[in-house]
Symmetry: C2
Subunit: 368 residues, 2 copies
């Protein structure tokens, strides 16, 4: 079936672009000799997308929620890193996954969380596999690299009974403020340097473990020194989005996801078209960031998605009057989202196509 | 079970407040002699909430998506008004509902949509029940009240074979720009006046049908003349939210929905707390509208939810340094959302409580 058979709004995924985006990154890291641990948070779908990203192995992934961890574990995935500061309410669920999978790995950034793990020893002589989150300037979770507490915590993890220091993990989300490859690579270099310096300190203390950095911009344009890391963990590269194209991670034509919508109203007194996609179908993320509003409207660089309500969007020309004859009621438009993670999160089904024809559906998991 | 047993983030609904909010509006309109047709778009849940809003009748509701229409129809609800400009891709699904229910009603605002209905006559001598959407200054969908085309379209609907003009429908979403009851009532008065003037014109042309206006602010503070309308159709009053309290529709303590979250990080170098709720659990709607950020943090008017990423929120004091001893890791905080419709849309389960104890779950429908 053709895309135009879909009821709108509908999130559609270009399978060929997904494969191309994944192949490019996979080949790059294979050549560099660095383990790619793809992040599932962008799509949160089962076999199809996760299978493509893991090259069919269903091993070595990273997730952002315990719902994702359980979802993948329930469907034959293993070596799962739940890269989220260990939440106190979910320790028992983490223990169950650790006792059931070959390798379930958790992450923490505070001594109190380590204490939680000590209090819940794993059965059958298993040990908690723990990554320490290091903040190399991103400013979200993690122990700040410059804090003496960082090394202290890593050593405490390594020396705690029933616990193993699996690695050091840094997310360089500060690349999201970059414009262009040069800036991206400066952040990638800095994060790599700080992480490697930390690994040296650990080595001096007689401890070795894995190292991992990640973010889609930095992993799309790796610097040479990243070859000295054990792993990288980008996620959004599977879909990309307008934001990534603005940062310089990809070209706009690499974006593999869009939201189909139809013109449902003509409002000449406001110089606007009304479309059947509001903020329930396209995330509000990116407000004010683009001259074209909340999305890029494919093939119509002169149009702007200026505002949205729950189920309606208002489209207007960036300048001049609208030519309504070009957009009869029912006309289908394609919205390339500013942020694909945020927009995918609004949809309970992704319609997958190849060569203009629908070839299947991907069903994401939701919740926490 | 107590609320603190929930994994966070979790959307929770205060059943007692829901009942109180619903009762207040229901009694008000019963006294005024105006039919209340509650809108389901805020919660989109089945029996429980819809049952409370319809006083157990499961009749006379309005929905914003065809997914909602089908969901309610599949579960014994009837007299459903799909108050969305008739979308060309969904005519056949609308026809099926019209042929199956006692009363399924559609809405349109363009002659092309009427043509679609003419082309698809209903079986068994049934007629399409059509409301015409009138724009009384809201500026979203609808034919502008001042356009000669408005009366022309209403007459065309009334005179088309196989179609019945069920009513005239106006949404006064322009009340969302109000601050205080006086401004709300001015908009309510204007929308009522314009709608009633339109009904007069129809009457002069020999046509009678129902009239309906709605929006949570206007319906929370009705003006006397609204007693001359057939129906009102508010929706958000079941939950309310911070936005409605700012507009003046309700008090902050009337808000029946909140998102529970836990403190998962201390970041003294940034004077911030990290919480386990990001934009996947709380809508980005309302950015910049509140001094407290994306939500009001219950019991902590001094705190601000300044920014969110997918699964993290950053909380900081509005002024001065944070006292971390007050917020040990694991501390539960309650986020009162700026916009409950938008935040509810991010959750696939609502946890319902009464008297501090969990009493059930409501499962919303999603999609279109």
């Amino acid at each position: 079936e053709a895309l135009c058979s879909l009821f709108s709004p509908a999130l559609v995924v270009d399978l060929d672009k997904v494969k191309r985006n994944v192949q490019k990154i996979s080949e790059h890291y294979e050549k560099m000799g660095v383990q790619l641990r793809p992040h599932m948070k962008t799509h949160k779908t089962l076999y199809e997308c996760a299978e493509i990203m893991t090259g069919g192995t269903r091993r070595c992934i990273v997730v952002s929620t315990l719902a994702e961890a359980s979802f993948y574990a329930d469907h034959g995935f293993d070596d799962i890193l739940y890269a989220y500061p260990l939440p106190f309410d979910k320790v028992e669920r983490c223990a169950a996954l650790s006792e059931r999978l070959d390798l379930f790995q958790v992450l923490l950034d505070h001594p109190d969380a380590l204490e939680q793990l000590e209090r819940r020893p794993l059965k059958d002589g298993r040990r908690w596999h723990v990554w320490m989150k290091l903040d190399c300037g991103n400013g979200r979770a993690g122990v700040l690299h410059s804090e003496p507490g960082a090394l202290k915590l890593a050593l405490a993890i390594a020396r705690t009974g029933g616990v193993e220091l699996a690695g050091v993990y840094a997310h360089c989300g500060n690349t999201y403020k970059c414009r262009g490859v040069e800036q991206i690579q400066a952040v990638a270099q800095e994060t790599t340097d700080l992480t490697l310096q930390f690994m040296e300190k650990l080595k001096d203390a007689g401890i070795t473990c894995r190292s991992s950095i990640g973010s889609t911009p930095s992993c799309s344009h790796p610097v040479k020194d990243m070859a000295r890391l054990s792993e990288v963990h980008p996620g959004n590269y599977v879909f990309y989005d307008v934001q990534q194209s603005v940062i310089g991670s990809c070209r706009l034509e690499d974006v593999a996801v869009k939201v189909l919508t139809r013109v449902i109203g003509h409002c000449p007194h406001r110089n606007q078209l009304l479309i059947d996609c509001g903020w329930s179908g396209l995330s509000l993320d990116g407000a004010g960031a683009l001259p074209t509003g909340y999305a890029v409207i494919e093939g119509h660089p002169d149009l702007k998605l200026g505002s949205m309500t729950q189920e309606h969007g208002r489209v207007e020309p960036i300048s001049g009057p609208l030519d309504y004859d070009k957009y009869p009621l029912g006309t289908m438009l394609s919205l390339i989202p500013y942020h694909s993670c945020a927009t995918a999160a609004m949809h309970s089904v992704y319609h997958v196509y190849s060569g203009g024809q629908l070839v299947g559906k991907w069903l994401p998991t939701r919740g926490w």
